[in-house]
Subunit: 369 residues, 2 copies
């Protein structure tokens, strides 16, 4: 088995996921490298931040520069000079979010490229082939999420197709050492969510994702559906909550048995001037930081906080200097990487209940958009 | 004296300029940090590149965030987290290039801020005060360049005013340990250029700049005027050719006794996808690099070349990823830093004639815009 469960505490899990590019200590946060680059951050900086795994987007990379191109250049790790682990998504979420979706059928989805309008087909088989070419450490099955809100009929149809696609996906060969995760769906219906986790849970996946959440539904419902699925999923394999990633979400989801996360939030808000701090989210464009000689966050050990002041970062944002994007992204990623580190330590120490209560309180007091 | 002349060879000089923030080995190239940041590059990366001095723009910093603000935050070094040397220009070049120049008189120049339209006055005294607040290691006198072409009357008037302003500038107090350079002008008239260098050369400056060149005049004229002025300037003080910086320009100017350079070229063309290589300038957006697994330049020791391929850089540029700007800027800066290093070694070894001939030939074969 690639996954070892090292400790459990109050519903939270501490594990180790072995990949061809190192061991991922879970719970783990995966920065998103949509187009083969975690925006504004270098691979060496990711390492310094304590990142062990990044996410690459199959949809974006397949369209540009193309999976075959990346394969010819030695695979995605070499292409982006990242020797840690890479998880590639299946493109399902992007394809079904597209305005240019042309047709969805039993075979797969047909859509037009947002880059050149060319017609593209994604099927469970093609999506496996693309991820094999990319050479990711973890490949995700092709799935069909549904928008919030969706009725039970639509949710059931998409869920059942997702299950059939999961089966087809598993019949394709994976790359050497490549792990494969299934994606549980079921819309926003608790019984469908439980059924999806049960159905996928017996398939030969190396791990499972909870997909199609955080699409606008109320947070309590998100957390309820996460808990429902982790209860049904096999205990001995990792669980990944896709696209979710405020600090509060991480605490809540880890307490419900989630091991892996990805989210664009830390890097996206950073480019807009927003940084996460223990005292709340601040926007560096605010005039009140113009003379602030302090670091982005007191006590933070990231490069941005070690070297630069809030006043300098504000100046860079106001002046349109792109070094600002890098420094704010580094800080925000460090906040999430440090948060999952605190959660791991707490689980190992049998103190998850106390630590998570403190962190929950802290981040409830520091709301995010 | 802050400057030691260590060797001379075929008109070229090898020196050491002592500042409050380290010794600058000359000939040296100064990357431009217009707004307190060498665009897309961190101070640690500048160090790794071998940079010893950067240029800051008085005009830009005085308008935003303001020199007083920077002084309150501990000065420009601390503000931008750069502990190497900083030379600040006087703003003369920017002010006289502005569309918003309101009035030039004996007292100074009045213009409108390009940021908020507010009226601003730059005088020899105010420009010294601003640079004292910034705390740069080398402060430049306020000067009046003239556009190409300009007639002798205009050139003489601006030159004579530049001399009077230089005198006023020197009557103001400098910051602790702050060196001051005068700027020789004279338009495009050889006899004025010689006169300006002679006049300034007897003033108590720590070094001298050749200003107001590379404004559209033919290159042979640029080089002729540079040679005319370096012949007249005191041998025991450093000479700085302002705003000039193609590789070929550096070789030509060093052979005419220039010690310091600044230019936005390496970082500006980098952000447009252009990189300097021994084989010529290439634009990474070109389709022919889509499958090129080689480094930006064979044998280059920069971070970008050590880790990434041309194909990856091309992808980043096509995808609009700002990591591309950083990596291409690092490479182009390294090319110029390495070039001045080769020139220094050649002068020390008494091989400047041969080495400069080779480099001249190389860069003549690789023309730049």
């Amino acid at each position: 088995m690639s996954f070892r469960l090292l400790a459990e505490d109050s519903g939270a899990r501490r594990g180790a996921l072995q990949t061809s590019h190192g061991t991922i200590r879970t719970p783990a946060f995966m920065p998103v490298g949509t187009q083969g680059s975690v925006k504004a951050v270098s691979p060496d900086e990711l390492r310094q931040l304590g990142v062990e795994v990044v996410l690459g987007n199959t949809y974006h990379l397949a369209l540009r520069p193309g999976a075959l191109r990346i394969a010819e250049l030695g695979g995605l790790h070499r292409f982006m000079a990242w020797d840690g682990a890479i998880l590639t998504d299946s493109g399902g979420f992007q394809v079904f979010s597209l305005d240019h979706l042309v047709r969805v059928g039993e075979e797969g989805a047909t859509f037009r490229s947002h880059l050149d309008g060319s017609q593209q087909d994604f099927t469970p088989e093609s999506v496996m082939a693309v991820q094999r070419q990319l050479g990711s450490d973890i490949a995700m099955a092709f799935d069909e999420p549904v928008p919030w809100p969706s009725d039970t009929g639509r949710s059931r149809a998409a869920m059942e197709r997702t299950h059939r696609w999961a089966d087809r996906f598993l019949r394709e060969p994976a790359g050497p050492g490549q792990l494969r995760f299934g994606i549980a769906q079921g819309g926003f219906d608790p019984s469908l969510r439980a059924e999806s986790a049960q159905t996928l849970g017996v398939m030969a996946f190396d791990g499972f994702a909870v997909g199609g959440l955080s699409l606008g539904e109320p947070k309590p419902l998100t957390y309820e559906l996460v808990a429902l699925q982790t209860e049904q999923l096999p205990r001995d394999r990792p669980r990944y909550l896709m696209g979710v990633g405020t600090p509060l979400d991480l605490v809540e989801a880890v307490s419900r048995g989630i091991d892996l996360f990805d989210c664009v939030l830390p890097t996206r808000i950073a480019r807009n001037g927003s940084v996460l701090t223990r005292g709340g989210r601040i926007n560096l464009r605010n005039r009140r930081f113009a003379g602030d000689a302090g670091p982005l966050e007191d006590g933070c050990d990231c490069y941005a906080c070690a070297r630069f002041s809030r006043a300098y970062l504000r100046h860079l944002f106001m002046a349109g200097e792109i070094l600002a994007h890098r420094l704010a992204s580094i800080h925000n990623l460090r906040v999430l990487v440090r948060l999952v580190g605190e959660l791991r330590d707490a689980i190992e120490a049998g103190r998850f209940h106390q630590v998570s209560a403190r962190l929950r309180e802290q981040w409830l007091a520091a709301p995010l958009p």
